[in-house]
């Protein structure tokens, strides 16, 4: 029906950049170690090789763009692509699970969007089809066809042939969740991302030890620093603070303007400051809800809410568990979930574990800490004794884990709660659970305890909620509940 279309030329740039990015690490290694000791004519080799490589990549990007065409025909999105191997991919509109709209910096410069199309079978390493750069109107057109097919079962010919006039539409938006800036900053400041950035920075600077003459740099003030441990401490503190700020800023950029809208039976999530992202999920594909409270947020009364979702590809980890509410006051979760996914009941009485399982939680922690502390204390005489400090820490951690665990059954809903570092509450609907496991170790058997886990589909693989050491009777009750099928 509609003729074949090319993507916007920006797609060529984008794929070239992607290629260069992928090749960056080998290239850097090549520069650093490649022509190290060679002199004479070959010394200049790398200065020629690298521009050649980059030119090749750009050329490939352009070819890739030239060969990529798509069209909408006979109820299918038909994509033909590939420079050396021609690939034709036809996706039926009714098979599409979700549309993921991203506006990267590059796309935003030209008023374009990147559209990812996902079907249930996206078990490969990437989305089923990615249109790297198309105009907003074009994305809107595809989006509308997708929605029409979902509701009517076939494509209205009008939508297929006509270009839409203007972008505004009458959509029925029932409820909205908007992340306030205050909460955005709290979220960024309390996320665990800091550790990642810091260890990353450490590794990074470690890598360059050979190139940057640290020793020469530092011997100068080594004399000076030797006197003051305080000086080093201050540097470390500032380093940490810097890493923390970077991590926070990164999260703010990523999750700014976080908005969730409910549109009939779909949830539309959009976020991002520099790179704007919009994701549409049909409600019936939601497999479970997960509420996470990390150690810093819990005392402040905040939690994050995720939805486990059956679409999405493996590598794209973000797409299989999607943040629904990045940061929300705990008491508000119930109300918001009721608006968005009314099936789920959040505020229920969670049954705690029996007292005797506390012993087992303690035991498991001590099993690691005591030998470790003993070895440390023995080997590193004066300072090793510091490791004894881990004992009270471990004990309180075990207590928190014990207190964090619990379960509940309400109607057709199972709630499993546990803590490792963050407290995780999984809320399952019976009809979404793929399997239930129970485990009994000899020790548990003696204490009449058991562990239970339930598995749902998330992305292409499984995702399990688990409670360790609950009353054996309760474990049986959960299994019986799962047995009962409504007939």
């Amino acid at each position: 029906m509609s003729e074949s279309k090319r993507l916007h030329p920006v797609a060529a740039v984008s794929s070239a950049i992607k290629l260069i990015k992928d090749a960056l690490i080998p290239l850097v290694i090549f520069i650093l170690f490649g022509g190290g000791g060679v002199s004479g004519r070959w010394a200049m080799f790398e200065f020629i090789a690298i521009p050649v490589f980059i030119l090749l990549f750009v050329g490939y990007g352009i070819l890739d763009w030239l060969r990529f065409t798509y069209r909408i025909e006979a109820g299918e999105l038909r994509i033909e692509s590939g420079v050396f191997i021609r690939k034709k991919r036809y996706i039926r509109f009714e098979r599409i699970h979700s549309l993921d709209k991203t506006e990267g910096i590059l796309q935003r410069l030209f008023g374009l969007v990147k559209l990812k199309v996902e079907t249930a079978g996206s078990s490969g390493d990437q989305a089923d089809a990615t249109l790297t750069a198309i105009s907003k109107n074009e994305a809107e057109r595809i989006n509308r066809i997708f929605h029409e097919v979902k509701s009517s079962g076939k494509i209205a010919s009008a939508a297929e042939t006509q270009e839409i006039q203007g972008v505004e539409k009458t959509e029925e938006i029932q409820s909205v969740f908007q992340q306030s800036f205050r909460e955005l900053f709290i979220m960024a400041a309390t996320s665990g991302g800091v550790g990642v950035v810091f260890s990353g920075a450490l590794a990074f600077f470690g890598q360059f030890e050979e190139i940057i003459p640290y020793t020469r740099l530092f011997t100068g003030f080594e004399q000076f620093a030797k006197g003051s441990v305080a000086f080093i401490a201050i540097i470390v503190v500032f380093g940490l603070l810097f890493a923390y700020l970077i991590a926070t800023a990164g999260i703010v950029l990523k999750y700014a303007f976080f908005t969730v809208k409910k549109n009939e039976d779909k949830i539309v999530i959009s976020r991002g400051l520099l790179e704007r992202r919009q994701l549409t999920i049909p409600l019936e594909k939601v497999q479970a809800i997960r509420i996470t409270e990390n150690l810093i947020r819990q005392p402040l009364g905040y939690a994050s809410v995720y939805v486990e979702y059956a679409g999405g590809s493996i590598l794209d980890k973000e797409s299989s568990h999607i943040m629904l509410f990045p940061l929300i006051k705990k008491e508000k979760i119930q109300e918001m979930i009721r608006q968005f996914i009314p099936e789920y009941e959040i505020q229920v009485q969670v049954n705690p574990l029996p007292k005797r399982s506390f012993k087992r939680y303690q035991f498991r922690v001590w099993l690691i800490i005591i030998p470790a502390a003993a070895i440390c204390s023995y080997l590193y005489q004066p300072w090793g004794y510091l490791s004894l400090l881990f004992m009270p820490l471990g004990a309180s951690w075990a207590y928190l884990c014990y207190r964090g665990a619990g379960w509940n059954i309400t109607g057709n809903q199972l709630q499993l709660r546990s803590r490792f570092f963050s407290k995780q509450t999984f809320i399952f609907q019976k009809k979404r659970i793929q399997a239930v496991y129970s485990e009994v170790s000899p020790f548990q058997k003696r204490a009449n305890l058991a562990s239970v886990s339930a598995v749902v589909k998330s992305g292409a693989g499984p995702r399990a909620g688990k409670v360790v050491d609950l009353e054996a009777e309760d474990s049986d009750r959960i299994k019986e509940w799962f047995f009962e099928r409504k007939n």
């Binding site: 793929q434 129970s438 299994k479």
Partner: protein, 157 residues
Amino acid sequence: MTPQKHISEKALKVWRLTGLFISIACWAVMIAAVVVILIFDWPLWLAVGIGLLAMFFAYIAIYLVPLIRWKRWRYDVRETEIEIQSGLLIIKRTLVPMVRVQHVDTKHGPLLRKYGLASVEISTAATIHEIPALDISEADNLRFYISKMASVVEEDV
């Protein structure tokens, strides 16, 4: 509520054979160690210790583990659900509703085939469950039964 059906008794033989193969590989390493000990005139008790260890290991791998595993392995395939029990020390029980079953496979490697056995693999959208070592005819029947039951009870995923 414990599942009742045992898997084929021949499974025990197959597992013992597997245990034997593993033991032989271990013995090879241990014999090499003993030879080294003798060559370098290290204390003899080391060699004796290794020998005892090898015997102990063989006892566990060939006798004990297969036996316990076989005793633990139970399964039940009912109209609406499949229940599987497995484990050595930790007893694991799995419950899979028929409606969740997406497909069933039977398969057998050379060792299982020699004893006329096959294992049944039950796949849901997210998990795979295995019943190892059933008689081939039983495995085939089970496959047919499960796929029939799974298509009877239809529910939206």
